[in-house]
């Protein structure tokens, strides 16, 4: 698996090539970026089959600096959790780049979009595979900066406003994380995550430890937009171009927020329900608040994309409830939800693009008076919504069930009841759009556009097939292994350093 650096190198290469080559022919940028996302998808699917051969973790040492006896250089560590993340990132970025070929006709400066898009993909892949703390920060910043620029890609009034707010709040988070990294370095004098885990395992948990944890938690909760740190999300995710909204909602907040936090909390600091129950209760309570509050706000939203953005906050709440319960079932649920939500919410945000193009607005009131029929988009939207709301046999059904079972196994019956009731609310607010935008139209039918249709079919196919094969293939081969990687805690350090 020594192709591991390609996950970041390939998109970076593309990002550097596009400004040079797009001067020759602007459409070349479409080809380059789609080839690269396709290659990344192939690589990540290939890794799915290759990783079991190498055991639980594959460690790639950059340069000639071996990880033993002392981790001098930067390493990439690729375990089952990283595999899950890489797979999700590249599945959705493949669909989004395919979609953007047609979608970008609405914007100027095509090549700038592609450059920033590939930089974001590079940053996200880097976050998922790096094994070095400072490197993690650098990759977070790469993806964050490109996302700030992409949110304002339309340079309309609202786009700029959203980008500014997003940038301020996001950078507060970034600098808090950097401060925490400085404190960690001062304490341990190393930057390798596995080495840090070993050092902290020997220390007692004093105020410094909890100060670091709270700084990190603050930073990553802002990045993952959990209540009450969610304020930037509805603005940024609703103003971005449709494929960027899909990327941000589908994977960005989960890789940069949820994945990074759970990697640090479980694998590096070795927290679990036994030694830090108050920490997990905090996550649990914030998660429930997110579900409830964002769910109610979403029910009242009158803008297509803002509704979806609030729904994202609510779903992130589900993920954090899973992490907060911190038993096998609930974490399996949370990780499956990352997968299902990435595909489902990505799909829903992508439908906003053609709808806005046709109707010229995303206001649900105006859209309900819009006369043309959009049956294809309506069907795609409804399928995605059913999956997100947890209707079997779609993919989104299994995470919800696992989360509820996790709550029951954790003897948190009230949590189980809340999860059950609010998954109904999800259906209610998502189907509001189906009812108002896509049904009772009698005008002429809007025709689908080629690359957009292909990306929709790809995502719908995935949602359906993965739902069917979830318990037989996806869960045992991918998700429960990733859950094991999370649950086993500081075992991660031993696996990395033993190599």
């Amino acid at each position: 698996m020594n192709y591991l650096p390609l996950f970041t190198a390939l998109p970076l290469l593309g990002a550097f090539l596009i400004p040079l080559l797009s001067k020759i022919w602007e459409r070349l940028s479409d080809i380059i970026s789609n080839v690269i996302t396709t290659l990344l998808l192939i690589l990540s699917v290939y890794s799915l089959f290759l990783l079991p051969i190498f055991g639980k973790v594959y460690v790639y040492e950059i340069g000639k600096w071996a990880i033993k006896p002392i981790p001098l250089g930067i390493v990439f560590t690729f375990d089952n959790l990283s595999l899950l993340m890489v797979l999700v990132i590249n599945l959705l970025s493949f669909a989004c780049s395919l979609y953007s070929i047609t979608y970008l006709d609405n914007y100027t400066a095509r090549w700038k979009f592609w450059t920033l898009f590939l930089l974001m993909v590079a940053g996200l892949n880097g976050v998922a595979i790096t094994g070095d703390l400072f490197n993690l920060f650098v990759f977070i910043e790469i993806s964050a900066i490109s996302s700030y620029a992409l949110v304002a890609f339309g340079v309309e009034k609202e786009d700029l406003e959203a980008s500014f707010k997003y940038q301020i709040i996001g950078e507060i988070a970034g600098l808090t994380i950097l401060l925490a990294i400085a404190l960690i370095y001062a304490k341990t004098s190393t930057l390798n995550m596995a080495d840090i885990a070993n050092t902290f395992a020997k220390e007692s948990k004093g105020p410094l430890f909890w100060f670091i944890i709270s700084l990190l938690t603050f930073g990553f909760l802002i990045k993952s937009a959990l209540f009450p740190f969610h304020f930037w999300l509805p603005d940024a995710h609703s103003q971005a171009p449709a494929p960027i909204s899909a990327m941000l909602s589908g994977i960005f907040i989960k890789v940069v927020g949820v994945y990074a936090l759970s990697r640090l909390i479980f694998n590096i600091f070795g927290l679990n329900r036994l030694n830090a129950s108050h920490y997990f209760n905090l996550l649990l309570i914030l998660g429930i608040f997110s579900i409830v509050i964002a769910g109610f706000i979403a029910l009242k939203q009158e803008n297509y994309k803002r509704l979806l953005a609030y729904s994202t906050i609510s779903q992130v709440g589900y993920i954090f409830v899973g992490l907060g319960l911190a038993n096998f079932w609930s974490i399996t649920g949370a990780l499956s939800l990352i997968f299902a939500h990435a595909l489902g919410k990505g799909l829903l945000f992508l439908t906003a693009g053609p709808v806005e193009k046709e109707a010229g607005s995303l206001d649900i009131h105006l859209l309900s008076n819009f006369k043309k029929r959009m049956s294809f988009y309506g069907i795609v939207y409804t399928l995605g919504a059913l999956s997100l709301a947890g209707i079997p046999p779609f993919l989104g059904f299994f995470p919800k069930i696992f989360l509820i079972l996790g709550a029951i196994k954790g003897k948190r019956f009230e949590v189980a009841i809340i999860l059950g009731i609010f998954s109904l609310l999800t259906l209610a607010y998502l189907l509001k759009i189906t009812n108002k935008v896509f049904t009772k139209k009698e005008g002429e039918e809007v025709k689908g556009v080629s690359s957009i249709v292909i990306s929709f079919l790809f995502l719908v196919f995935l949602i359906f097939i993965l739902g069917l094969f979830y318990l037989n293939y996806l869960e045992p081969n991918l998700i429960s292994k990733a859950t094991e990687a999370v649950i086993s805690g500081v075992e991660y350090a031993r696996l990395v350093l033993i190599k």
Binding site: L12, K112, L119, L208
Partner: protein, 177 residues
């Protein structure tokens, strides 16, 4: 180390001025003062490479600030308005946050090694290997270019990203209608 403390106090003072003063140009210049005292502090803590980079970056930052201010306005009109309840509440929250943060950071910093006595667990290996295997005179260069070369690639990428980002944002027309 008395110079260090003096510079810290200067930078804190200049920082307060930068935040509170009404003229935005003066504010940018005060920010420059903070940046330069940071650069001198880098020299005092035996980090000449950092000082050089900091000076370059500081000049660039101030130039960008001044450029933006000259293109727009240099009076902070928001300071003229009367403070309302909301502003007082925000200040109250800041005070609360400041007190807690200071308190907890004192508690936390107590557990760190004393100032001027780093652990240097990895660094001692770097210093040996950097000289013997890379034959580099400047160890910082050895770290950024060899041991942690990937970070430097990342750094270049960030710079590249922000250049493309600025180009993206400065274009006049974004959406084709």
């Amino acid at each position: 180390m008395i110079e260090l403390y003096i510079l810290l106090i200067i930078s804190i003072g200049a920082g307060i001025v930068a935040v509170e003063i009404k003229d935005l140009l003066a504010s940018a210049i005060s920010l420059g003062i903070v940046g330069f005292s940071v650069a001198i502090m880098f020299i005092l803590t035996q980090a000449p490479d950092l000082a050089i980079v900091q000076i370059v970056v500081e000049v660039l930052t101030v130039v960008i600030f001044v450029g933006v201010i000259l293109k727009t306005t240099h009076i902070d009109t928001t300071l003229e308005d009367k403070l309302n309840v909301r502003d007082y509440l925000t200040k109250g929250i800041f005070a609360l946050f400041g007190i807690f943060f200071l308190l907890f950071s004192i508690l936390a910093l107590k557990e760190l090694p004393q100032f001027g006595m780093p652990i240097m667990k990895i660094a001692s290996h770097y210093l040996v290997k950097g000289f013997e295997e890379i034959r580099a005179a400047n160890q910082v260069a050895a770290v950024i270019l060899d041991f942690r070369g990937y970070d430097t690639l990342g750094e270049a990428t960030v710079l590249f990203t922000s250049v493309i980002g600025v180009l993206t944002i400065l274009r006049k027309i974004g959406k084709i209608k």
